[in-house]
Amino acid sequence: MSKTVIQVEDISKLYNLGTIGSGSLRRDMQLWWQKNVLGKEDLNQNIRNGRKVDTNEHIWALKNVSFELKEGEVLGIIGHNGAGKSTLLKILSRIIKPTEGLVRGSGRISSLLEVGTGFHSELTGRENIFISGHILGMKKAEILKKFDEIVDFSGVENFIDTPVKRYSSGMYVRLAFAVAAHLEPDILIVDEVLAVGDAEFQKKCLGKMNDASSQSGRTIIFVSHNLQAVSNLCSQALWMDRGNVRARGKSKAVLNEYLSALYKKSWVKEFSTLKEAPGNDRIRVLYVELLPHLEDPLSVIDIRTTLTVKFRFYNATDNIVLSTDLLLFTLAGECIFDIPSKPKLYSKGMIEGECTIPGNFLNNGSYMFTLHFSKDTSSELFSYQECLMFDIADYRENTNWYDKWWGYVRPDFPLVLKPLATVR
């Protein structure tokens, strides 16, 4: 059994809100006076005694986080913004201290919370390689040994003696990451650095990280919103939710749990009375639901999943030629399709509708449905905008491409290659 290299025990971090940053000397002296001279307990005293202080001046960025990591494991940390991921990384990197708890570990840690830490824009690429390398924890001999490799990886050989302020942002990032990629710590901590740079470079970086863990047996802790990258790189995953560990385990399982919890709640909208249902005096939408055809209820919608949309509405007008359009938008607001129903004559009453979108049709991404009701196919009765929101996760096999797949749709029409007989 490989040995445990990091043990996190009940880490909590409390932040003061409001007064922080404005740093008032008077207030601090007042508190000090109360605490030490008058013997009154101030808020900080309460915290040290381990009691939770729930005033709006304080926030627990982390609460009782515990986990262990073994040598060679790659841990992906996922969660919403503000879930405490970065705070956790900062504690592990020794930048900030936990309010409570203990972290123990063995081996040299390097953290990569930002690309280009310590870069000085006035200095040349060459100088910056040394500065950044040293700041990230490399020794001079180590940098000298790897200098050529770093320059090679970055692809900025021709500009190595130019001040980095004249670099394009892409070159800057490449050089900065090249330095970081050649760190050889026992434990590497990486925060969302892959959000920068072009697709090709991102791929190179992910590849480099993959090598680091699989070949050198390095332990990596990796925070990312790129779930695809987490799923491909990490054996283990940790799901943070409002400062707590929500789930921890094999990355596939944790990712699935994360995604299904994330999107399930917006898959159905149901109203019991006409009054509260969205609509107007002509149309009331009582029910909309997205029914993904999933074999395992815990798994997520991915690009292979067939989706059915069901809806029910009340039509308040007699003898009306009515049609309904189901529109799909990306989160950015671009319309993917508009499927109309056949216009028909209806009388007053409830009407039900259903539409099925086959799997292997939409690309991965975030989408919204809109229901549009019209009279005589031309005049609008009601438009129920963004009634359903959902995400389609990626699914890939046999590829080393980690970046977002191109295009709005992703059909798997067969594309066949045939080797031709070579003409001699």
Partner: protein, 288 residues
């Protein structure tokens, strides 16, 4: 748990991160392992200082030279402060060289947190490394200015205006060390304070400017009227200026007890500075 497994448990881990840094938790070995970083940071600051400038490192010479000329003009030519038979240019140059060392070390080190917040929030290394690299750089710049002073000194020696005494000159080394150390210790304390209370940065500028007038830089201790001499004597920097001038020019009222006072003050402030800095540097990261 028995003692045996407890021992093994301790051996298993190489490091720990705990909520509090103790006052005494200063890893000398850890600091030593960061010496490359210290030198590199000093190099970076030195290079950055003179990037895209007209005169580059010559500024380190030009600045004191211009200051001295102004002082000579104002204090000696216009106000007419006597210089005990020493050429005013040399008299002022000696004082200003030492003063520049103190004020620059103090000022630059007090900016440790406010100027490096960006790096500190992204990567860990012992924060005192930055202060040490600043000290190192300032000593280097002081070295350049000392060369200028020596050149001027040589000129006046050959001119026969001052006499040279090698034994006396040896005094400059402890004086330089004590001066730099007081600046270092004070700078550390103020770096913590200014990180927490930003407005103290302006106060530092003020302190430096006021302090300059109670240091015998363009006057000597002997010229100070008895009634206010206690004020200048109270200043732990005063004896350093007197001794520094004595080493070069053989003039001034030197007093070993006064120097002892300065030395003790140095030990105290360096000790307090390092303790405070070490204790607070992690906590400050929540405030920066």
């Amino acid at each position: 748990m028995n003692n045996g497994s407890n021992g093994r448990r301790l051996k298993q881990w190489e490091w720990e991160i705990k909520p509090e840094t103790s006052w005494w938790d200063i890893g000398i070995l850890e600091l030593y392992s960061y010496k490359d970083l210290m030198l590199q940071l000093a190099r970076k600051d030195f290079l950055a200082l003179y990037q895209q400038t007209l005169l580059g490192p010559f500024w380190a010479l030009l600045q004191p030279l211009l200051t001295v000329l102004t002082y000579v003009l104002v204090f000696n030519k216009i106000i007419g402060i006597p210089t005990e038979g020493v050429p005013p240019l040399l008299f002022n140059m000696v004082g200003i060289t030492l003063w520049t060392l103190f004020s620059e070390v103090f000022l630059q080190i007090s900016k440790t947190f406010s100027q490096n917040a960006e790096i500190f929030s992204k990567v860990y290394f012992p924060r005192i490394i930055v202060a040490l690299s600043t000290l190192w750089l300032q000593l280097l710049l002081f070295g350049i200015q000392l060369l200028l002073l020596l050149a001027l000194y040589l000129f006046f020696i050959f001119n026969g205006d001052v006499d040279f005494n090698a034994g006396r000159m040896l005094l400059i080394f402890p004086i330089i060390a004590i001066t730099a150390a007081i600046g270092f210790g004070g700078g550390l304390i103020f770096s913590v304070l200014t990180a927490k209370y930003r407005d103290l940065m302006t106060l530092i500028q003020l302190i430096i400017r006021l302090l300059m007038f109670v240091c015998p830089i363009f006057y000597s201790l002997a010229m100070v009227p008895e009634s206010v001499r206690w004020l200048v004597n109270l200043n732990p920097l005063s004896s350093l200026f007197e001794y520094f001038r004595f080493a070069f020019l053989g003039i001034g009222s030197v007093n070993a007890l006064h120097l002892l006072y300065s030395g003790s003050f140095m030990l105290l402030i360096v000790f307090l500075g390092i303790l405070l800095f070490n204790k607070m540097s992690d906590k400050l990261m929540d405030v920066l």
